[in-house]
Amino acid sequence: MPHSTERKSADRTSVLAAGALSGKDAIACRGITKRFGTVVANDHIDLTVRYGEVLALLGENGSGKTTLMNMLSGIYHPDEGVILVDGQEAVINSPVDAMNMGIGMIYQHFRLVDVFSAMENIVLGTKEKRLRDKELKEKISEICQSFGLEIQPEKRVYEMSVSEKQTVEILKVLYRGTRILILDEPTAVLTPQETQKLFQILRKMKEQGCAIIIITHKLHEVLEISDRVTILRKGKSIDTVETAGTDEKILTELMVGKAVSLEIDRPPVNHKSPILKVVNLTVKKPDGTKAIDNISFEIRKGEILGVAGVAGSGQKELCEAIAGLMKIDKGAILYEQENIIGKTPAEIIRMGISMSFVPEDRLGMGLVASMDMVENMMLKSYGNGRGPFVDRKPARELANRLVEKLGIVTPGIDTPVRLLSGGNVQKVLLGREIESCPNLLITAYPVRGLDINSSYTIYDLLNEQKKKDVAVIFIGEDLDVLLELSDVIMVLCHGKITGFLDARKASKEQVGLYMTGAFSQEVAQ
């Protein structure tokens, strides 16, 4: 039995190499419907992907993209409809079935065994007999070469960066002879450079005749990598368009169902006095190296300070230092003239500083997954009420307000947040932080994984706060957005500040150079 499957997939690869399948339908979904209780996640969806093409799947948060892909990879089973693989009706009951049909999926949240090495993860669960380490390494490096990947086979997954983990995931599917590759938001956590590397690999796979489905919320990526785009809206497949004949505006309209302005406004700053002053701050990581190295900056009321920098340049430590979550090595943090170093996180919150950090894995970011929205709202506010009993009413009102204001897709405010789609979970978190009426709002990567419409809603919300004289520290990845939204851009590189730029005048290239440390201003202490 295992033998026959192996031979089959080997045949397929050779067929692929000849390019014989190119242009033929790899997968065709016909009228796929999936319900979770009362939620219809997928409503009679049609979708086709061919060999030798990249299909982008586009849709707002909660429109059912992940659900649909999970049915192709055997995680869920459709309630209605048929899936054709290579023109034949297929029943995909488990990931094994999907694998045997040559379908491989890279999930929104990686599925790797942390304590295993890259190599062990790659061969995990394959049916052939155990290879010796040397042979295996050769086989892996062969694949790496033909697709332009880089990997350290012995490295354990928990020591890897996100992008390395993704490489392992890709190798995992390539090793199994995958011809149909599904990637669920692979770029959400990658730096632009890493994204380019990934796209190179995808192009190589496409050349070799693979069919690729990619989910991403970044429209410029859709335009860059895909051949066709299928758009989902509220669980229905709306349209499929050729990428060549479309642009960001058309795609957004199809996705949202109405015209959306992709402009960000920038109200002027009226205040002179700083609300927060950071002086010669140094923070060390647990391993003793400096995460933040002697930085000084200030931010005024009603100002948005954009922080740019390659991931891991000290952004996280900066957030946590201000929020009181991290031990400070040297320096001072003055909030309204008062040094807040040594205060507990609770005291700092009470002073009006709110911090929200969306980590790379996007899980565990200050919400309790098994609690519903109301309870998650109360996590931050239950201390306010008097007496030993909690008052749910304000929290319920807040939850309802957020659902309406941010367009959170949820069956109800009593549904555990873990059941919401990735993007919607994030909206719950951000909404709560913004609604706590802070004077200083620190937000890191707030639009990671958010659809374009929600991203703009978030930008508007930040601007609204700005107009209320709230100071905002905005740590972002997308330089275009940073330049459009912020008043001042502070660039971090290896824990040091390489420059302050006036966002109204600076160019993207300039910021990029400061980010790599190629440029550096003498920063006044």
């Binding site: 488990s94 990931p95 694998m99 999926m105 065994v113 295993f116 993860n121 394959t126 155990r130 873990r418």
Partner: protein, 318 residues
Amino acid sequence: MDLLIRFVAAAVAAGTPLLYGTLGEIMTEKAGHLNLGVEGMMSVGACAGFLAGYYTDSFALALLAAFGAAAASALIYGVLTVTLMANQNVTGLTLTIFGIGLSNFIGILALGRSESGTLKLPEGITAQMRGAGIPGLRDIPVAGPLLFSYNAFVYIGIVIAVLLFLYFGRTKSGLNLQAVGHNPGAADAAGIQVTRYKYASILIGGGICGIGGAYCAMIINGGVWVSNNVGGLGWIAVALVIFANWKPLNAIGGSLVFGALRILKFYVPKSVLPLPNAFYDMMPFLITALILVVTSMRKKQNLSLPGNLGNHYFREER
């Protein structure tokens, strides 16, 4: 010297049931399932092994019965926690209560049917078990009594430990099992039959515990049936798993140490060190607590600890 040899031999004898319990629980926990029913499964194994030995007079059949019956009791746990996704702690505790009760109940029934009013294993099987020290080697001075004088249970236990070590460390299937215990979602996506692995490890783990139970019933009390013959050893085994850091070979040393602690009170004269017996009984647990403190102070990732221990897995859940 002689006293020391006797002490070591006694420690081995006291540690052997612990070794089985620990190995069985390691096997179970490697699949990510915390089974607190070790005490219960050992009791079931004790009863089945003893009675099979009593009626058939065959050591092999006694072992088989102990393994099978305990595995069957583990199946209850498996169905509840794997398929029905019940809470593992509650299910395990219940299994303990159930197992002890069932074992005592059947024991009393059997006692009632026997004419003498006691149950004592027949001569044949006693000889098979006792005489199992390795002839020839047994008589070498010092090394003989230290290494080659034990009953068959001891050697079988060590063989199982070595086999488990090889299985976890050297085989593909062992790697798959550990993947299931660490991250069932990843294992599932990689094409591993998660449910099948979980059941297999729970059943085999339960069976191994059962043999440890048989030791309690058949050896400790000189081949005479008494109620509650496992007497809390199952709980110490659960702690020993942590002490052994989920490694089968460590379990051998660990059970020897804990076995020694259990009998220490008989070897330290009260005139030298006037400590109450309860102090010695407390030691295994105190040491486990200390080990826990030490291991959690080390910052490094613990590779042996199954990362997903205690959580159920349902593919469609998120």
